[in-house]
Subunit: 240 residues, 2 copies
DNA sequence: AAAATACATATTGTCTACAGCAAACATTTG
DNA sequence: CAAATGTTTGCTGTAGACAATATGTATTTT
């Protein structure tokens, strides 16, 4: 029945995840069940199941009688993210180094190879998705069902934040991406060597790189105003 | 329509949670959708939505074409739990002390009052549920959507483990419960005072109490065999 | 003219009936 | 008698039709 062996329901699930991660579906927007079910060629009951599951994973917020809203990103969201991310990332990496199986390491290497490709040829969305998968695999290596839920939630918004603050005009981002990719290689080496402390430390460093990148967008360098004109004066004039 | 203002679907959701937390539904068992839907007076599609959501929260594991299985508890489960719990509990308590609102503190106090009652009059299941609620409220106080998923998952199994290793024959457990209740009072005081470090430290202490209790069941004190008879000799004789 | 209420419309929530898959049992054949 | 295959039964998965609720608009009343 399916060209793929994946069912249409599974396709729907994965496609919605992808669209949310890449911001193709913007945070906060409401989706129409009928439209979606028709788009994926399934009826509304299974679609609603999919939405419930994705709500459980943090992709959607469900409002009674109001439908499914793509998980919004507020100012508080970003703050909370910064507070928890390093702890969970470090813990995941540590456990990954302790528990990773050879098969998982192979998968991680393959993913990293794809990531290198994407850095050069791919677009921002593709890079973001592959990066998400890389860290997802590390999460799976950690093999801890109590840590995974928070990690999953973090990766969703880490990916979306990365997409939000992406700007193709900034050439220094390319250098930072190379650096990130180098750190990925180090992750693989440390995990393969079973170096838990090293992996945890690298996770923090990797996080710092990402954080600095985000912060450079959130509070960018001020432009130098001529003479002593008040910052924001133009905006006020334009708004009135 | 509803005697309660909660819909029957909500009742179903909450009742399944309760039954799983109290081990009324044992880990690993498979549930029949038709039976359940009839029991709660709803049809199968909304029931399936409920199951999907609860699967997302970690109460169930869904197997394709095989139905819903109450989340099983293996040896690995327990190990993983021990590894992650102190970190997440400490982090939650710290953030709770930093962010708790007066209204939330009031709710926590009310919950603690109920807990004290339950220690004397309630049964094991009631105590377990109220304890779960107490720590859930602390989680809500932390107000961090990235930390909450793991905390929720931990509380599910913490509650179930507590029920598993409960034995009404052990009088020293009553003393430990009093101690736990005292620590709850300290939680309230520290959170109200905004003492983040204190709350985090108390979380670790509270965890240690719980851990010691669990461990006393997992590896109980050996009985003293008369003379030099080999441990397990009886079992071997019986088995052959 | 403005506000409130009633109605119409669109969307979510639910139910019943059917289709598909899997496991267990019976039957047949080597 | 054993093993393999066919059949049956009971469950999960899905579809389409119906009910309920919320929102927006139009009309009426003050």
């Amino acid at each position: 029945m399916d060209a793929d062996n994946r069912s249409r329901k599974t396709i729907c699930l994965e496609d919605l995840r992808r669209k949310i991660l890449t911001l193709e579906l913007e945070p906060g927007v409401y989706l129409d069940e009928t439209e979606l079910s028709e788009a994926y060629g399934i009826s509304r009951p299974p679609l609603r199941e999919v939405l419930r599951q994705l709500a459980g994973e943090g992709y959607f917020v469900l409002h009674e009688n109001r439908g499914a809203q793509v998980a919004p990103m507020t100012h508080k969201t970003l703050r909370n993210f910064f507070v928890v991310a390093p702890m969970i990332y470090a813990a995941s990496s540590r456990l990954a180094a302790e528990h990773a199986t050879p098969a998982q390491v192979a998968r991680l290497k393959e993913c990293q190879w794809t990531f290198r490709q994407a850095i050069r040829t791919g677009d921002a969305a593709e890079r973001a998705l592959i990066n998400e998968r890389f860290h997802s695999i590390i999460g799976e290596m950690a093999d801890n069902e109590y840590l995974m839920p928070s990690l999953r939630r973090l990766l969703i918004d880490h990916t979306r934040i990365g997409m939000t603050f992406y700007n193709p005009r900034k050439p220094e981002l390319a250098r930072q991406r190379e650096l990130a990719a180098d750190q990925h290689d180090q992750f693989i080496a440390l995990i393969e060597a079973g170096d838990a402390d090293g992996a945890a430390a690298l996770a923090v460093a990797h996080w710092e790189l990402s954080r600095a990148q985000i912060e450079s967008f959130v509070s960018p360098q001020a432009i130098s105003y001529p003479l002593g004109r008040e910052p924001g004066a133009e905006e006020r004039r334009g708004a009135s």
